[in-house]
């Protein structure tokens, strides 16, 4: 157990180191793309705590991302707090919000109704923002007057400076996910996923673990928003809408749930790769949608899930002989190795 935790933790640090190098060497016109990858990556890896570990499907995950962003911008601009303090308070606000929403939502709904109730809370947040234009900026959004050109370490541009922070956020999110998965909390979450009533019989309350996972994943999403909003310099209700939330779910499922690599592959395939191609954005969405649908049909376990199955099959010592193999090979007894 502890060996696996160390191995996964080391893997996360290696990924973090690679991304850190990328943050330095990536050309200036690709920095925003890298930032988007990092932010989406952190969101999707965090979302996997709910989808992969508990098979809960929130359709309002982006709301917490947006809430983190809005809280930071408002605290920075209206309350005049320095950015780090504003960010820290914003994360706390998101955690409280997630607890307020999550406790009734996970206790009183499951499956379909959980998806729709989380979606409804997200839409309510948008309504709130759109209807109080004086404070929240309304549906046109808020601009953040981040002083461009102030002193940056390594002569970085503002965007590249925030790349460093987003790398840190992604590493933190991945470490949290690795730690949770390799802990007793993770084991109990696994038990809840496998058999909710059985878990209850063992003396654990499934609702507690679902609520903990919900608050944790939502707070991580808020953390991403805290860094994304000042980086982007602008935040609008669109960033927390249902379209964003379902895109997050789509990326996760396509990559493969339950694995950090799956989440990152999904983000690269549906968000980063299409953005690198010069194309009409509407046509791009057409192609991304078609890709999502086709991959979902062909590879139910996601791309990484499918690759892992292939890998397992290749490594299994008693693999069935290939179709063009020796004809005199002894046939395996029926039922073995399946």
């Amino acid at each position: 157990m502890s060996g696996r935790r160390l191995r996964h933790g080391a893997g996360v640090l290696v990924v973090g180191a690679v991304l850190l190098v990328l943050a330095f060497v990536v050309p200036e016109n690709r920095v925003l793309l890298l930032n988007a990858f990092l932010a989406y990556g952190a969101l999707v890896v965090g979302l996997d705590l709910l989808v992969g570990d508990l098979r809960m499907m929130p359709a309002g995950h982006a709301a917490f991302f947006g809430a983190g962003g809005y809280a930071t911008v408002l605290l920075y601009q209206k309350a005049g707090l320095p950015l780090p303090v504003a960010g820290a308070i914003a994360v706390l606000i998101v955690a409280v919000l997630a607890a307020l929403i999550g406790l009734p939502a996970v206790g009183r709904s499951s499956g379909f109704s959980f998806a729709i109730i989380t979606f409804a809370f997200g839409e309510l947040l948008i309504q709130l923002i759109a209807n109080v234009p004086g404070f929240f900026g309304g549906s046109s959004g808020l601009t953040i007057d981040w002083g461009v050109g102030s002193d940056m370490p390594f002569d970085f541009s503002v965007y590249r400076y925030f790349t460093l922070w987003l790398v840190a956020v992604l590493v933190v999110v991945m470490l949290v996910v690795v730690l949770v998965r390799n802990s007793h909390l993770g084991l109990r979450m696994k038990a809840v996923r496998a058999d909710e009533n059985g878990t209850r019989g063992l003396g654990f309350n499934p609702t507690t673990y679902k609520a903990v996972a919900f608050v944790l994943a939502s707070t991580l999403a808020g953390l991403v928003g805290v860094f994304w909003a000042p980086m982007n310099g602008f935040i609008s209700p669109d960033t927390l809408g249902v379209n964003q939330s379902i895109l997050l779910l789509g990326m996760l499922i396509i990559g493969g749930v339950g694995r950090i690599t799956g989440a990152l592959v999904g983000v690269a395939l549906l968000a980063s790769l299409p953005a690198m191609v010069e194309m009409d954005p509407v046509l791009r969405t057409v192609l991304v949608g078609a890709l999502l649908a086709v991959v979902a049909l062909l590879q139910p376990a996601g791309i990484v899930g499918g690759l892992a199955t292939l890998w397992d099959r290749a490594r299994r010592p008693k693999a069935p002989p290939p179709a063009d193999g020796p004809v005199d090979a002894t046939p395996e007894p029926a039922g073995v190795g399946r």
Partner: protein, 287 residues
């Protein structure tokens, strides 16, 4: 007083449209257990098919053609895709999300995001007092009432309705008496697609349509299907009427900017009080 009548009529019309969408959601979910985010695109398909055919062939021919197109699209999508995803919630969800992204962008690309109007029903009549009531809304209310009554009757009295209800209640028991759930799922998708097309045609009759029309109605359809208790036709109808009236009255008398918020608050309150919905006879779970 007269304003109240107009508002209530508007609420009933919206409620009727929500019923049509919610019925489709309830039917397909009941049989296949797929949370179909692409269901709203059947509305858009029906609406655009109606508007386009009406421009080319006249409204009379356009009606059956639009129904045929939406039902056909639903059937093809089911046979090609959704049939394979039964039993894997994540896969079904991902497939429908992909379709949603694809369809919305495809409609924007083909027909642009500018609102389009088809053959609108213009004119007003005065039924009660001085107030002039738009004929279009009355027609839509009439159509939805007829369709809902026919659907409810068909679900009780016809072979397909019986099959749909049986598979929704207990898939395994239904299969032991010779009802393959996958085949019945096809009926569910065709019926749901046709109902959504009726909703789309009705929407096109009273307001201009955009590629985003389907999704906004779909989300309301999800809400009423859940409030009503998944799988219940009466529940969907009652919930849709509650939602439609609440939205219309709230928009008129409380605050117009919060139209969408009323429904979500209603759903959250009802789910906190009755987690399985209003008319649910047993616990239905999706995941």
């Amino acid at each position: 007083m007269d304003a109240l009548v107009t508002t209530i009529l508007l609420g009933i019309m919206q409620g009727g449209l929500y019923t049509l969408v919610g019925l489709g959601v309830t039917l397909t979910f009941g049989v296949t257990h797929i949370l179909n985010f692409a269901h709203g695109e059947f509305i858009t398909v029906g609406a655009y098919a109606f508007v386009l055919f009406a421009g080319a062939l006249g409204a009379g021919l356009a009606l059956p053609l639009a129904l045929l197109v939406a039902g056909g699209v639903a059937a093809i999508l089911y046979v090609v895709g959704f049939r394979r995803t039964i039993g894997n919630h994540l896969q079904g969800l991902a497939f429908s999300l992909g379709l949603l992204l694809f369809a919305e962008a495809f409609f924007v690309r083909t027909f642009t995001a500018t609102p389009r109007s088809g053959p609108r029903i213009e004119g007003t009549v005065s039924l009660i007092g001085e107030e002039q009531l738009p004929v279009g809304r009355l027609v839509v209310i009439g159509v939805t009432i007829v369709v809902v009554v026919v659907t409810a009757f068909a679900m009780r009295r016809t072979w397909i309705g019986l099959a749909l209800r049986a598979c929704g209640d207990d898939e395994f028991a239904a299969s032991t008496v010779g009802l393959p759930a996958r085949r019945v799922g096809l009926y569910a998708f065709v019926v749901a697609g046709a109902l959504a097309a009726v909703a789309g045609i009705c929407i096109a009759l009273v307001v201009p349509i955009t590629p985003a029309t389907g999704l906004s109605f779909l989300l309301k359809g999800f809400v009423v299907a859940i409030i009503g208790g998944l799988g219940s036709i009466e529940g969907t109808f009652v919930a849709a009427m509650m939602l439609g009236l609440l939205e219309a009255l709230g928009t008129r008398y409380v605050e117009a900017g919060l139209t969408n918020a009323y429904g979500f608050v209603l759903m959250i309150v009802i789910l906190l009080v009755a987690p399985a919905g209003l008319f649910n006879r047993r616990q239905v779970r999706a995941g």
